[in-house]
């Protein structure tokens, strides 16, 4: 396996909530992202995936645990070259670009400040960045308000690429886009990854997209990773009831029968995480032991690259090995 480019170890991020209580957004999370890999981080709202992204990108400080890049520990304050190395692409194309700066201004500022190209080559590099994301060079003169959602995301990607990062953290980059535009952006990610050797941490709640793009997948619930592994192992034979529920609920084109909800109720507030396994109040498989004993993220017996945080992780999923 290639060297781990990003290592997150026992990461905890908590915020003070009302009445002196603690909101655990991220609770003891450990995972790695190897160079050139695409890791999909999946989960519903409030599971902590965006907080992890912000931690890795240096926008939020860990309350405990470490984030390492190339072996070096990174915090809120980091060397410029480390800051450049990890770039984010955000979800909302309508608030991710400065409404008053033209695209050329945005890109050339980054290129100049970091002295990435000679002054004389600035314009050419801007044009190349636009071409890289499939936009014409006269887009450089435009203001964000003149572009559609999909075009803005392409611009956001061009901006992230301008500083020549090693890792791109994409936080729900296609969720706000129409399905055909989504496909274009996903293709762009795939192509950029193979051409530029990018490492991508892809955050999404859309399982179909994650399955299409990722090499490895980590599923989060209430601040913890509940399942992690090689993409196909996780999707074909999910070993955590939450993963199974997510898969079952994923919209499918030819799903004629109504999907029966297998999971009751809604996720509790992260201020009030249930004891034992945090998923137990909603879990169809929960038993007595689940209410008191917190399961750890451990390897499932049948695979070296598949981990689940469930007492019943070695039970095969009832719908395992689904194919086309």
């Amino acid at each position: 396996m290639a060297d781990a480019l990003i290592e997150v170890e026992n990461l905890c991020v908590s915020f003070a909530a009302e009445h002196g209580r603690l909101l655990r957004a991220v609770d003891d999370v450990t995972f790695q992202v190897a160079e050139g890999e695409v890791v999909g981080l999946v989960g519903e709202s409030g599971c902590g995936k965006t907080t992890i992204a912000k931690c890795i990108a240096g926008r939020v400080a860990p309350s405990a645990g470490t984030v390492r890049f190339e072996g070096r520990q990174l915090g809120l304050k980091r060397a410029t070259k480390d800051r450049r190395a990890i770039q984010m692409v955000f979800q909302d194309p309508y608030s991710s670009l400065n409404p008053r700066m033209t695209i050329r201004q945005v890109l050339s500022e980054l290129l100049r400040v970091h002295r990435l190209v000679a002054r004389a080559d600035l314009e050419e590099r801007c044009v190349q960045l636009m071409a890289l994301v499939g936009l014409p060079s006269d887009a450089l003169d435009g203001l964000p308000s003149q572009f559609s959602g999909g075009q803005r995301q392409r611009i956001a990607i061009a901006r992230a690429l301008a500083v020549e990062p090693r890792v791109i953290i994409a936080d729900e980059p296609v969720s706000a886009l129409d399905v055909s535009v989504q496909t274009t952006i996903l293709r762009l990610f795939e192509d950029l990854r193979s051409r530029l050797g990018l490492t991508v941490l892809f955050i999404s709640h859309n399982l179909a997209v994650v399955r299409h793009l990722s090499d490895r997948v980590a599923v989060m619930y209430l601040g913890r990773i509940v399942e992690e592994g090689d993409r196909e192992s996780v999707f074909r034979d999910p070993r955590h009831p939450y993963t199974r529920a997510l898969l079952a609920s994923a919209p499918r084109l030819h799903q004629i029968e109504l999907v029966r909800p297998t999971v009751k109720g809604e996720p509790p507030s992260p201020i009030d995480i249930p004891t034992g396994c945090s998923f137990h109040p909603r879990c169809p498989r929960a038993t007595e032991v689940c209410t008191s004993d917190t399961p750890r993220l451990e390897r499932v017996r049948t695979s070296a690259v598949h981990f689940a945080a469930c007492h019943f992780r070695d039970e095969t999923s009832p719908e395992a090995v689904q194919g086309p």
Partner: protein, 333 residues
């Protein structure tokens, strides 16, 4: 049996920067009693405006330029906004919006918001409307209704808020529920619950449903009829199963091919070439022709209309037969 909702030739005009354009152009469809119709399309295709026009809730700058909306045999006065409509007209239909947090009154308890229609529209007394609100909270699956009655919208989770919206919509005892992207803002596990709730309400109360969404994966579970919109026009309508299995309009086929398949990771989604046109500068003839691989010169000059292509299945395409025969394996669920 007369359909419970009939829309004929609806044209909605919007004004942007002083220029007027047709955001919905000649939309016609009907909804059977107890049936469910899904209107699908990408952003800006006019599907939400269609619902709003039916409800009389068009934003300022928008107006119904022509067309008829008939609810249970009664033609609605589309020019009048919600307030101008007769009491009984309003009662027959309710709308559920996408974002419950912005659709609900932040400074009123959810119980009071649900009780509002029974109290002020149906004429119930104070305690009777409270009782009704509690009943509705139970009906939409909110546990502990007495306590939740006193909650404010921001105190509730997304799924619960959406259930509250549905309860409010049901409080005036409508025959038709219009839903504008009701589950788009929700997590997928909650989405399943809300869709199950809508199906239950249909089965138990004989509600008719019009569901607007951009998510084709949601459609097949909920609606037995499907209408596809593009740039304000209906391009295909028919039974959901038939339309999804054998689309007869290249745009529908394009949408189907563009979605990644959660069960088949090796499937490579295909983007529809080009991009959505500016509504102020729509292509002539069939508005989809610049992006269509079946397009021929006559597509740009003919005013294409919905034509039957199968049992109860219509498509607005000159090449719908060609599409049926040359369709690649495409996306299978």
């Amino acid at each position: 049996m007369t359909p419970i909702l009939e829309v004929e030739g609806l044209v909605v005009e919007m004004t942007r920067h002083g220029v007027a354009f047709r955001a919905v152009d000649d939309a016609s469809f009907s909804l059977e009693r107890g049936g469910a119709l899904a209107i699908v399309g990408e952003s800006g295709c006019g599907k939400s405006l269609t619902l709003r026009a039916i409800m009389g809730l068009l934003p300022s700058g928008g107006r119904v330029a022509s067309g008829r909306v008939v609810v249970d045999g009664v033609t609605l006065d589309t020019a009048a906004g919600g307030r101008g409509r007769g009491h009984s007209q309003r009662q027959r239909m309710s709308i559920v919006f996408q974002d419950a947090l912005s659709a609900l009154n932040p400074v009123a308890t959810v119980g009071n918001q649900i009780a509002e229609a029974p109290r002020h529209v149906l004429g119930f007394g104070r305690s009777a409307s409270r009782q009704r609100a509690l009943e509705l909270l139970r009906l939409v699956g909110i546990p502990d209704p007495e306590r939740r009655y006193r909650a404010y919208p921001h105190e509730l989770s997304g799924g619960t808020r959406q259930r509250v919206m549905i309860a409010i919509a049901l409080s005036s005892d409508p025959a038709i529920l219009l839903c504008d992207e009701p589950t788009t803002a929700l997590d997928v596990t909650i989405q399943t619950q809300i869709l199950a709730l809508l199906a239950e309400l249909r089965a138990e109360r004989g509600l008719s449903l019009v569901l607007v969404t951009h998510d084709l994966g949601v459609v097949s579970q909920v609606a037995e009829r499907l209408a596809v919109m593009y740039t304000g026009r209906l391009v295909e309508t028919g039974p959901t199963g038939a339309v999804l299995a054998t689309p007869r309009h290249p745009y529908t086929a394009g949408l189907l091919a563009a979605a990644p398949n959660v069960d088949a990771p090796e499937y490579e989604p295909l983007a529809i070439p080009g991009s959505l046109p500016d509504p102020l500068r729509l292509p002539s003839g069939c508005t989809f022709h610049p992006r269509c691989r079946f397009a021929t010169p006559e597509c740009a000059t003919t005013d294409v209309r919905l034509e039957p292509v199968g049992p109860d299945h219509e498509a607005a395409c000159l090449h719908s037969d060609e599409l049926a025969t040359t369709r690649a394996a495409g996306n299978r669920g």
